[in-house]
C-alpha cells in the first residue's frame, strides 16, 4: 500500500511529459520504474510496452501492469494490485485530461493568438526528438542481435513502404521470434 502515493506522484509527473506521444515519457519512465523504484526490470518494461502494441485503445495502457506489480509485490495481495493499476491510470491520464478540457474550451480564443502557431511549429521538432529519444532507449533493450535487428528493420521498411496494420507486423515479429528461438543452435 505504501507504493500508492509514490505511483501517483510518478505517473502524474510522467503524464505531462507525453508531448507528441506516450513514448516521449519512456526514458523518464524507465529511469523511475526500473532504476529508482525497481518495480520491474528494463526488459520486463520493454516487453510489456511491446505487447501493449497488440492491445486496442491508447497505446500506453501497459502502465496498469506497473501499478499492479508494484502494489502486488509490496502487499502480497492481488486485489490491491488491481487498485495500484487503477491509481496509475488515474494519475497518468488525469493531468493531461484536465489540460485538454481547459485548452479545448479556450481554443477559439487561442486561434487568434499569433504565438499559438509558433508554439505548434516549435514543439513539433521537440516532440519528434523526444519520441526518437524514447524509441532509441527502448530499442537498446529490444534490439540485441541479428534476429531482433532484422525483425526491427523489416518492420521499419514495411511500415514506410506499405500501408499495413501495425498489429499484424507485431504478430509477425512474435512468430519469427518463436521460430528462431526454437531452431536448433
Amino acid at each position: 500500500m505504501n507504493q500508492i502515493p509514490i505511483l501517483l506522484r510518478v505517473f502524474a509527473y510522467l503524464s505531462i511529459l507525453t508531448v507528441g506521444g506516450g513514448m516521449a515519457a519512456f526514458p523518464e519512465m524507465e529511469h523511475l520504474s526500473v532504476t529508482v523504484h525497481q518495480w520491474m526490470t528494463s526488459s520486463q518494461l520493454v516487453h510489456m510496452y511491446s505487447v501493449g502494441q497488440l492491445a486496442p485503445g491508447p497505446n500506453m495502457m501497459m502502465i496498469v501492469s506497473i501499478g499492479d506489480w508494484a502494489v502486488w509485490e509490496s502487499s502480497g495481495s492481488m486485489a490491491l494490485g488491481i487498485l495500484g493499476g487503477l491509481v496509475v491510470i488515474a494519475a497518468f491520464f488525469g493531468p493531461t485530461a484536465l489540460l485538454a478540457l481547459v485548452v479545448g474550451r479556450a481554443w477559439n480564443k487561442l486561434e487568434k493568438w499569433p504565438w499559438r502557431k509558433s508554439i505548434q511549429l516549435g514543439l513539433a521538432p521537440v516532440s519528434v526528438g523526444l519520441l526518437l529519444a524514447g524509441t532509441l532507449s527502448m530499442a537498446r533493450t529490444a534490439v540485441t542481435g541479428w534476429t531482433t535487428g532484422g525483425i526491427a528493420l523489416f518492420v521499419l521498411l514495411t511500415m514506410l513502404w506499405r500501408k499495413i496494420n501495425p498489429a499484424l507486423l507485431v504478430l509477425t515479429g512474435a512468430i519469427v521470434g518463436l521460430i528462431v528461438g526454437y531452431l536448433p543452435k
Binding site: S15, I16, T18, G20, G21, A24, P27, Q44, H47, Y49, S50, V51, Q53, L54, A55, P56, G57, P58, M61, S65, D68, M78, G85, A97, A100, L101, R105, P114, S118, I119, L121, G122, A124, P125, V126, S127, V128, G129, L130, L131, A133, T135, T147, T148, A152, L153, V155, M159, L160, P166, A167, L168, L169, V170, G173, A174, G177, L178, V180, G181
Partner: protein, 202 residues
C-alpha cells in the same frame, strides 16, 4: 464544386441533429467500442466512429480536434475523447469518453501483465516477446519518421530534433529540462512573422 457545397450544408445539418441526440451513455459506448477494436493505431477508428458512423463532427472539425490533441501532452486517443466528449456533453461527456476508450485496453493489459508476472520466464513467452519487442522498436521508428515528415516545417527543425535526442540520451538532462530549454529555443525560432500571419489568414 456545387455538389460538395450541398453535401457540406447537408453534413452540417446532420452533425447538428446527431449532436442534439447524443447522450452521455452514447459517448461512453462509442468510445468503448473504439477502445476495444482499434488494433494498430486509434486515429482511423476515431474517424470511423465519430465522423462516418455517428456524425458528431465533420471532417474539418475532426482534423481540428486532432491537431489540438497532438499539440497537447497526452495521448491522441484520450485527448480526443476529452475534447469531443466535452463539446457534446460538457465534462460528463469528457469523462464518459476517456473512461470508455481506456477500459478495454486497460483490462486486457491488466490480465496480460498478471499472466506475464507469473509465466514470463517460460521460454515460449521469452522467445515470442523478443520478437514482439523488436517489431515494436521498428514500428516506433517508422512512426517517428512519418511524424517528422508530416510535422517538421523547416530544415533547421532537424537540428532541434538532434539536440533533443542528445540532451535526453547522451547528456541525461531529463525530459522536462530538455522540453523547456529546446522547446523555448524552437518556439522563438518560429516566432510569429508577418508573412506567416498573412498566409494563415488566406
Amino acid at each position: 464544386m456545387s455538389e460538395t457545397a450541398i453535401s457540406h450544408a447537408d453534413e452540417r445539418a446532420l452533425v447538428a441533429a446527431a449532436r442534439a441526440k447524443a447522450t452521455v451513455f452514447d459517448i461512453f459506448w462509442q468510445f468503448l467500442v473504439i477502445g476495444a477494436t482499434s488494433f494498430g493505431g486509434v486515429v482511423p477508428y476515431l474517424r470511423e466512429g465519430l465522423v462516418t458512423k455517428n456524425h458528431w463532427v465533420d471532417d474539418k472539425e475532426f482534423v481540428e480536434l486532432l491537431s489540438i490533441s497532438q499539440s497537447l501532452p497526452g495521448l491522441n486517443a484520450t485527448n480526443m475523447a476529452i475534447l469531443l466528449g466535452d463539446r457534446l456533453k460538457g465534462w460528463m461527456g469528457a469523462v464518459a469518453g476517456i473512461v470508455g476508450v481506456c477500459l478495454p485496453g486497460g483490462l486486457l493489459m491488466l490480465c496480460v501483465g498478471m499472466f506475464y508476472r507469473v509465466h514470463g520466464d517460460h521460454s515460449f513467452i521469452t522467445f515470442m516477446l523478443k520478437g514482439v519487442a523488436a517489431a515494436a522498436a521498428g514500428l516506433l521508428l517508422a512512426t517517428v519518421i512519418q511524424l517528422g515528415k508530416k510535422s517538421l516545417s523547416h530544415r533547421f527543425d532537424l537540428f532541434f530534433v538532434l539536440i533533443t535526442v542528445l540532451a535526453v540520451n547522451r547528456l541525461h538532462l531529463g525530459v522536462p529540462k530538455t522540453l523547456v530549454i529546446v522547446g523555448l529555443m524552437a518556439i522563438f525560432f518560429h516566432y510569429p512573422r508577418k508573412s506567416e500571419k498573412e498566409s494563415v489568414k488566406q
